[in-house]
Symmetry: C2
């Protein structure tokens, strides 16, 4: 079946050299080669050179599986990815994943992807259970709700740790991982538990929204509307608070200027229409580029031009923001920095399992494009 040994057929790549091969060629013992690889400073210079020569000559690289087995570490980091949301402009994950792959690579780690799919992935063990009652009975550690996928990887020691990114949607994975004492770091602060003991990195959404709002105020706008997410979204409320802060600071009114909706283009469009009719704003700050595109739709229908007639600012600096005419001004999260901080925390955590780092809060930047419009004064 799937796991059959691969007998070396004629057309097959030759097996990679092993530590023993290198040792024989260099005329030393295995341990010496191992030291040359892992603790070069333990060897005399000439021995080291000889071993390295042999390593180069054979193109030797340690067998991952053997090393993993012995050291009880896989040097793999698990990352659960969300399904791509069709019809939205959310491109954050894409950039983040890339940054994470790059950064963790420099630290000697690779990223292993998995999804929240319900079907048991590696269900060799759970194959045909004869008596369903038995399965239910013994299933004391079943992967519940949001922890889908994490469990298998952890139990099979496939990964050393996890990077959790969906802390803002809901927190079951975090709670589950914490309870399991599984090593993980989070992109996203622990909203519901301010003194959570796991390392996390987040971007200050309030600062981002404030940046956006202040930018518009400085252009001369005074009637600036907010379109954000529903009240049960911590991130949404956080970003909204930045808008409120900026407005209050300049003594501008926020009453009737805010709308909280689903994160879809259609919702943004409807919200923009209502706001334009009732509050008559000259500018919009949105919790996402998706919502901002909703505003674009409404403006488009009414023959208004983003930028020239009504200013619009989005959030996340998606590809949409970068390419749509006349360019959508947007708040950009420094995902590269996030990845760097996460990996740093990860290394600390794996070195000292009890590590409790301080949460790291990063500040986003504003990318100004045409939709900001001209200065009004």
């Amino acid at each position: 079946m799937s796991r059959m040994a691969h007998p070396r057929l004629p057309g097959q790549p030759k097996p990679p050299p092993t530590l023993a091969d290198v040792a024989e060629l260099a005329g030393v013992s295995r341990q010496t080669v191992s030291n040359a690889v892992n603790n070069p400073d333990l060897l005399r210079a000439d021995t080291l050179a000889r071993v390295q020569q042999a390593i180069q000559q054979l193109g030797y690289l340690p067998n991952r599986a053997a090393r993993n087995l012995r050291t009880r570490a896989s040097h793999l980091i698990g990352l659960r990815i969300q399904p791509v949301q069709e019809g939205t402009a959310n491109a954050l994950m894409d950039r983040f994943v890339h940054a994470l792959v790059d950064t963790s690579r420099e630290a000697g780690y690779h990223i292993l992807l998995f999804t929240a799919d319900t079907k048991p992935a590696d269900s060799d063990a759970a194959a045909p259970v004869v008596d369903p009652a038995v399965a239910r009975l013994g299933d004391t550690v079943a992967p519940v709700d949001g922890a889908a996928g994490y469990d298998d990887l952890l139990r099979s020691t496939a990964v050393d740790a996890f990077v959790v990114t969906d802390t803002y949607v809901s927190n079951p994975p975090v709670a589950w991982l914490r309870e399991r004492r599984a090593p993980f770091v989070a992109f996203g602060r622990p909203w519901d538990d301010p003194d959570a003991r796991h390392p996390w990195v987040d971007v200050d959404g309030a600062a981002g929204a404030e940046l956006a709002t202040t930018h518009l105020i400085e252009k001369g706008h005074t009637r600036i509307a907010w379109i954000g997410w529903r009240k049960d979204s911590w991130i949404g409320e956080d970003r909204r608070s930045g808008w409120v802060r900026a407005m209050r600071e300049r003594g501008l009114s926020t009453t009737g200027m805010a709308s909280r909706v689903e994160d879809t283009v259609a919702s943004g469009r409807t919200a923009a229409a209502h706001l334009l009719d009732e509050a008559r704003p000259t500018a919009f700050v949105c919790a996402s580029d998706t919502l901002a595109m909703g505003v674009f739709h409404t403006l488009n229908e009414r023959g208004l031009r983003p930028g020239d007639d009504v200013a619009v600012v989005g959030f996340d600096d998606s590809q949409v923001a970068q390419t749509v005419p006349p360019g959508l001004t947007s708040v950009r999260q420094p995902v590269e920095q996030v990845a760097a901080e996460l990996v740093k925390a990860l290394e600390a955590l794996l070195a000292h399992p009890s590590y409790v780092g301080p949460g790291v809060m990063l500040t986003p930047t504003l990318h100004v494009r045409g939709s900001s419009g001209p200065d009004l004064r």
Copy 2:
């Protein structure tokens, strides 16, 4: 006993149960447990049930490292990802990666990401090379040019196979992998070598462009321009040929109606401006959504409305196409099918290393949105 070596620290997760633990609990030998997991039909029903009960009770899952070491397979598939291209609308990879993770999971594989970074990733072995001449001398199998990253993973037996996606940019990885006899499947046909022996899956770009062009013709357009990629892009020329085919079929002229540029918004914008001035098309078919957004820019500058005044069709059905007003009609690649076919080929390849599957060609679909405009007749 065996586990005594590592004194369990207070705050540490308890080590997962092993095969031996299960065997002891179930009162059978290790091999019997192994059989229960891998060849359940070899056991008597009652024994199987007893073992499975023990497995459930302990929450046992085979240790990956040990299994990998013994079976010489990691059940990991390597995927090299490209840096996100800022300022473009290319969102294909995002969807593809997700589809691939999902599909390969069902086949018992996980996806391992890596990048084309130049720095040696896992350079334990290559640490401080004393004599640079030595390194160069022995470096007979150095990872050259486009194969960066593949080499380490292969030599360290970290992955079983690769999925290669960048065959259209240039082919060094493919040539390198083939020469190495490394197992891989490609998303993208082998343009330069029609009788390449590796499994591949691709999407018929010509058919996609033809679909788009025909759609516009049926709306009543006769002057349909093409904005594509430079002539050295196989994919670009392939897509272009679909436009030519559709035009010729209806006896429509293509002279002066085509432009070949870089894949950037700015290029698309310039190309659209020139074409509008000289060839006066009423519709554009573009090789990418990025270029289509360039057309949008030009229309926007001239006070023209996509859809109502000039029809535009893009390629890849990016998030931009889905969210920009009034919606950009676009050709969508069936990446989910691509992933499914790739995984199918991968399984065949890993089961029979000499497997040479037929290339699989899939047909894209057209997603019609506002930018198609109304019927002209």
